[in-house]
């Protein structure tokens, strides 16, 4: 199949390569052509041209605005893609933006799925991403073989936007867990107890978690090199708190975590790992 890929960063590049290795013809477009160097793919001059040549196009970019501009902007996918073709957006964006873009593409009978992922760069490289999908079941069925090249746990959550809601929930839980791990490490250190031993002891009990395992380890070693750049979690928390606001629900823990992330950004640690939330606690 002719498959397009836009957004060839840390996540997008290994994902695109998996698709190509599975035997698909890969077409790419990038704002900076240098970023696609060395890829076994045909470079297109615009998203519209890429759209003309592909049945399915993946996007993996940063913000709602980026997805909007690639899909609906001048020379965007909407100008090239044929009726029945599918956009699979793997970016993490606002649920209402996902719904809006899907509706606009739908006016031209172009299908869209929101399919944000969890699992980080390592998950992208190992093709073990969790993929949470919003959109029509029949459309998902058509692109499922492609998604299976990228991840193992693929869940159809609901209609357009539902995948992004699930991703917001994922980020809420994950970053709150990082904050909890940081607070535990802070308490242990302040009480004069060896953090490494505490983490080791907890790993066997009810508080054991992947976050305590991975991020706790980084905190113990004070290795704050990313990992996951904290600025991306900060960006996602803007989406999380926007979504809770729109739904009129109280999420007091997420609100506090959001403020700790704001403090982290203020310290200039946005390109460090989110385990830097420990360093924010050490400021006070």
């Amino acid at each position: 199949m002719n498959v397009g890929f836009i957004g060839l960063g840390v996540m997008g590049r290994p994902m695109a390569l998996h698709l190509q290795r599975a035997g698909h013809e890969l077409f790419v477009w990038a704002r900076r052509p240098a970023s696609v160097e060395g890829l076994p793919a045909s470079l297109c001059a615009s998203p519209a041209e890429l759209g003309r040549r592909c049945e399915v196009v993946f996007t993996m970019v940063t913000s709602s605005r980026d997805v909007e501009s690639v899909c609906l902007g001048k020379d965007g996918l909407i100008e090239g893609m044929a009726p029945g073709a599918v956009v699979v957006d793997c970016s993490t964006i606002a649920p209402d933006a996902a719904r809006r873009i899907a509706a606009r593409l739908g006016e031209k009978q172009i299908e869209m799925l929101d399919a944000p992922v969890s699992g980080g760069a390592q998950g992208a490289i190992d093709a073990t991403l969790a993929i949470m999908v919003g959109g029509k079941a029949a459309v998902l069925a058509r692109v499922l073989p492609l998604l299976e090249c990228l991840g193992q746990r693929i869940v159809h959550v609901g209609p357009n936007g539902a995948g992004q809601v699930a991703k917001a929930c994922n980020q809420m839980i994950m970053v709150a867990a990082i904050q909890a791990a940081a607070e535990a490490m802070r308490l242990a250190a302040a009480a004069g107890v060896d953090c490494a031993k505490v983490r080791q002891a907890l790993a066997g009990g009810s508080a054991a978690s992947r976050v305590l395992d991975v991020m706790g380890e980084r905190m113990v070693r004070r290795d704050f090199a990313a990992g996951i750049e904290a600025r991306l979690h900060h960006k996602d928390f803007g989406l999380v708190l926007g979504a809770t606001r729109q739904s009129g629900v109280a999420t007091p823990l997420a609100a506090v975590v959001g403020q700790q992330l704001n403090a982290l950004i203020a310290q200039g640690w946005g390109r460090d790992d989110t385990s830097s939330l420990l360093r924010v606690l050490e400021l006070a």
Partner: protein, 288 residues
């Protein structure tokens, strides 16, 4: 002075009326034509659109709902503006949005002042609003005679956006403040102590405030009629939290307060006064 006024809602209508009373010649426009009638009856001239208002005016004031509305009417104002026009927006919008609108108008040769108000409908009718202004000194000087018909405490805070920054700070204080007073009242009640006596005692000390005085009394009277509706305070706190997110600014108390207001809007208290946050606390603590 020839003054144009755009947006004649709960706040805009009495403000425009006070400009007429102050002896100014006022041209008005509102999205819904029927809201123009009371102003026309009082001697204002009506216009078909914001551009027409701008053509007839030396000063144009907008009082609308949200940033996109301000941007839209100001673009129309720019299209009809005569040289030397000063544009003033008195709505509450994000500081970043105000700065951007200011830049767009400056590119069209129009001076812009952001001048949100505090004091509510009562202050708008009485002409006693607090006005916090951002923009150039010279534009503020041209605007001041109009402000004096509308408000009492008029402060030129700084450059473009500074008025909205001040209004956001005002909403932090009133939002966190009303929650603090509600918590104190709920605390007294759950302890079986008379809230009105607590309020009376505290009004003599360091915790005395206008919010404890006015809002506290209305909580004791269980008078939840707006005043200032919860959903509007929620909107304003969202401006605060968005700005904090963009700047990298840690505001834990505002964040907690914004969550309470989210829950109010989501649970049907949005149309009540912001003191209804007391009802939410009572629900959470089994006091309802």
């Amino acid at each position: 002075m020839n003054i144009g006024f755009l947006g004649l809602g709960i706040m805009g209508r009495p403000m425009a009326l006070n400009l007429l009373k102050g002896g100014h010649s006022v041209t008005v426009w509102a999205r819904r034509a029927e809201s123009m009638q009371p102003l026309l009856d009082a001697g204002a001239r009506g216009a078909a659109n914001p551009s027409e208002v701008a053509q007839a005016s030396e000063l144009v004031i907008s009082m609308v709902a949200d940033a996109p509305d301000v941007a839209e009417v100001m673009r129309a104002v720019a299209a009809g503006a005569k040289p030397g026009l000063v544009a003033v927006d008195m709505s509450t919008i994000a500081p970043a949005a105000a700065r951007q609108i200011g830049e767009e108008l400056a590119a069209a040769g129009i001076d812009f002042i952001d001048a949100p108000v505090s004091g509510g409908e009562v202050g708008a009718i009485a002409g006693t609003l607090s006005i916090m202004a951002g923009g150039s000194e010279s534009a503020f000087a041209k605007t001041k005679p109009a402000f004096e018909c509308i408000g009492k405490n008029i402060v030129h805070v700084g450059e473009s956006g500074a008025g909205q920054v001040t209004k956001a700070a005002n909403q932090i204080l009133t939002g966190v403040g009303v929650l603090a007073v509600a918590e104190a009242m709920a605390f007294a009640a759950k302890n079986g102590v008379d809230g009105s006596k607590v309020r009376e005692a505290l009004m003599g000390g360091f915790a005395a405030s206008r919010i404890l005085e006015n809002h506290g009394q209305r909580m004791l009277d269980r008078n939840f009629k707006p005043g200032f509706k919860s959903w509007m305070h929620e909107k304003d706190l969202n401006i605060v939290m968005q700005t904090a997110h963009e700047l990298g600014l840690c505001l834990p108390a505002s964040a907690a307060t914004a969550q309470m207001f989210n829950a109010m809007v989501g649970s049907g208290l949005g149309e009540e006064d912001s003191i209804a946050v007391l009802k939410l606390l009572e629900r959470l603590s089994g006091q309802a």
